[in-house]
């Protein structure tokens, strides 16, 4: 994620104040997020969950009385 993208996402998320005061922390948070999401996207199980609509998210919806 490049600096401009990070800044755009941070501003959209309402983190202007944080961006001004702690730019390194915003960049570190973005880098960590990118690493984790990439890993999930590229190794999403067998078969890949991204290609198999029958795999539902956890926890399932539970009907309670």
């Amino acid at each position: 994620m490049d600096g401009k993208t990070i800044e755009a996402i941070a501003r959209r998320a309402g983190l202007q104040k944080t961006l001004e005061a702690f730019p390194d922390d915003v960049a570190a948070a973005a880098a960590s997020a990118e690493k984790a999401t990439e890993r999930v996207r590229t190794s999403s199980g067998t078969p890949p969950a991204s290609l198999e609509p029958s795999i539902e998210p956890w926890p399932p919806m539970v009907v309670r009385r």
Partner: protein, 467 residues
């Protein structure tokens, strides 16, 4: 009775019930020890000595009238400071809540301890909001490891681990979202259990990530852990994740049965391939496997998905859910967080809804994978921490070892997991092992843990702390 501070909760409860020991004497002895050692360990954020003594006197008076409230009557306990205790503030070890109002009610887990007769000593240090630590930029200092106060006690339930290991109290409550009960248990050579998701109520606990949060017992022995979980477990209709346990709540019954009829799956890939562990950790895990085999268990190799995949799923879910809790404060009061919490909690802002749902769907697959293996074996044996605890002032080592662990898989899947000592390193620092069970089969988990504890004598391990 000498060395009251090393008494187990079980032994103390028996001695109090037989009126061989006064809960007031026990509480006073522990408060004295806290006064002497806590300035070096920083295990506590708040010691509620006056109220604890009042509760101890009440417990003694009840005993004099022949009334026993429950299995922990008169036994002191301390509470991680993200868990509500009526009349005390819940600070989450953060400036955000530095001037917090007192909680108006006990968390359900605290209420259950109280109903069983336990005496609350106070509130314990944690990594900020159970995620940012160890940190030196918070209103309270980080807890220290009693095995060597220059070292990290693990976290996030850091005060719980430090204080139990140092003999400040025989049991403590911790919480575990990515390993936060089992990490300090591993670093401080105590027993910590993350129960099956939904077995222990989370009501009254400040959330980190709703679908990953667990409350668990931290003690010096397996027996105490089983006793404490028996008190904590049970359905809470006001916690949406809570489920009734089908296996009942006396986990102490089969502790001494041994492992002769059990099949144990050894997950070597976590520490041999995925995140190669320190050689002393590898040797300790092999010793555990060998010992359990010699105790009669059938120990076989099994494999699970890669540790990095579990970790990524845990991180996406945890940080997405945590962002939804913290976003307003992160936008408006970013300077009131410590650096580590600010960085970790903000990551969720950079993940989208698709990432969260995909991670939740992969989670379903991971649950199926672990369930398939647990149909072949009764228990899993694997690493907890890949390294002995590092120095607390070495931020690079803290960051490096943060992910070098095998605890997150079982937050993702919700299976019960217990970490406990596996010996000491050449430097005298704790090494650890983790056992994982089938859903709601904590009884077998404790049985295996007790077999290893009995064979290796890990319950006799105490840090060489002055006093």
């Amino acid at each position: 009775m000498s060395d009251l501070h090393w008494l187990t909760a079980s032994a103390a409860a028996v001695a109090i019930a037989k009126r061989e020991m006064s809960p007031v004497d026990l509480t006073k002895a522990l408060l004295d020890r806290i006064e002497r050692l806590n300035p070096r360990l920083n295990a506590f954020i708040l010691v509620d000595a006056e109220k604890a003594l009042k509760e101890a006197r009440a417990a003694e008076a009840e005993m004099a009238q022949g009334r026993l409230r429950g299995p922990l009557h008169g036994v002191p306990v301390a509470i991680k400071d993200i868990i509500d205790v009526s009349g005390l503030p819940t600070t989450c070890h953060s400036k955000i809540f530095e001037i917090a109002v007192a909680a108006i009610a006990d968390a359900e887990c605290v209420a259950r301890l109280r109903a069983a007769g336990a005496i609350i000593l106070g509130k314990l240090s944690t990594h900020e909001f159970a995620i940012g630590g160890p940190s030196f930029d918070l209103p309270w200092p980080p807890a220290r490891n009693p095995w060597n106060v220059d070292h990290h006690p693990g976290g996030s339930s850091s005060g719980s681990g430090s204080g139990v290991a140092a003999g400040l109290f025989p049991m403590a409550l911790g919480t575990d979202t990515g390993g936060s009960v089992r990490n300090p248990a591993s670093a401080c050579a105590i027993v910590g259990t993350k129960p099956t998701y939904g077995l222990v109520s989370r009501r009254g606990v400040f959330p980190l990530a709703f679908t990953l949060d667990h409350v668990g017992p931290m003690t010096r022995t397996v027996e105490d852990n089983a006793l404490m979980l028996g008190v904590l477990a049970g359905h809470d209709p006001l916690d949406p994740a809570s489920v009734p346990s089908p296996s009942g709540s006396d986990y102490t019954k089969s502790l001494e049965v041994g492992v002769r009829d059990l099949r144990i799956g050894f997950v070597r890939r976590f520490h041999e391939t995925d995140v190669p562990a320190d050689p002393e950790v590898v040797a300790a895990l092999d010793r555990v496997a060998l010992t359990l085999r010699s105790e009669g268990a059938d120990v076989v190799d099994v494999t699970l998905p890669a540790l990095e995949d579990f970790a990524a799923v845990n991180r996406v879910i945890l940080q997405s859910e945590a962002w939804s809790i913290h976003s307003e404060w992160l936008k408006n009061r970013p300077g009131d967080y410590g650096r580590l919490a600010r960085r970790r909690l903000m990551s969720g802002a950079f993940m989208d809804a698709g990432d969260y749902v995909l991670a939740s769907r992969v989670r379903s697959q991971m649950i199926a994978d672990v369930e398939a293996v647990l149909r072949q074996v009764d228990i899993l044996l694997c690493a907890s921490s890949m390294d002995p605890p590092c120095r607390i002032d070495d931020s690079e080592a803290i960051e490096r070892t943060y992910m070098r662990q095998a605890r997150t898989p079982f937050n993702v899947t919700g299976h019960p997991a217990l970490a406990m000592p596996a010996g000491l390193s050449r430097d005298g620092l704790p090494l650890s092992v983790q056992f994982v069970g089938r859903y709601f089969d904590e009884a077998t988990l404790f049985r295996v843990a007790r077999s290893w504890e009995r064979a290796a004598g890990t319950d006799a391990l105490h840090p060489p702390l002055a006093g």
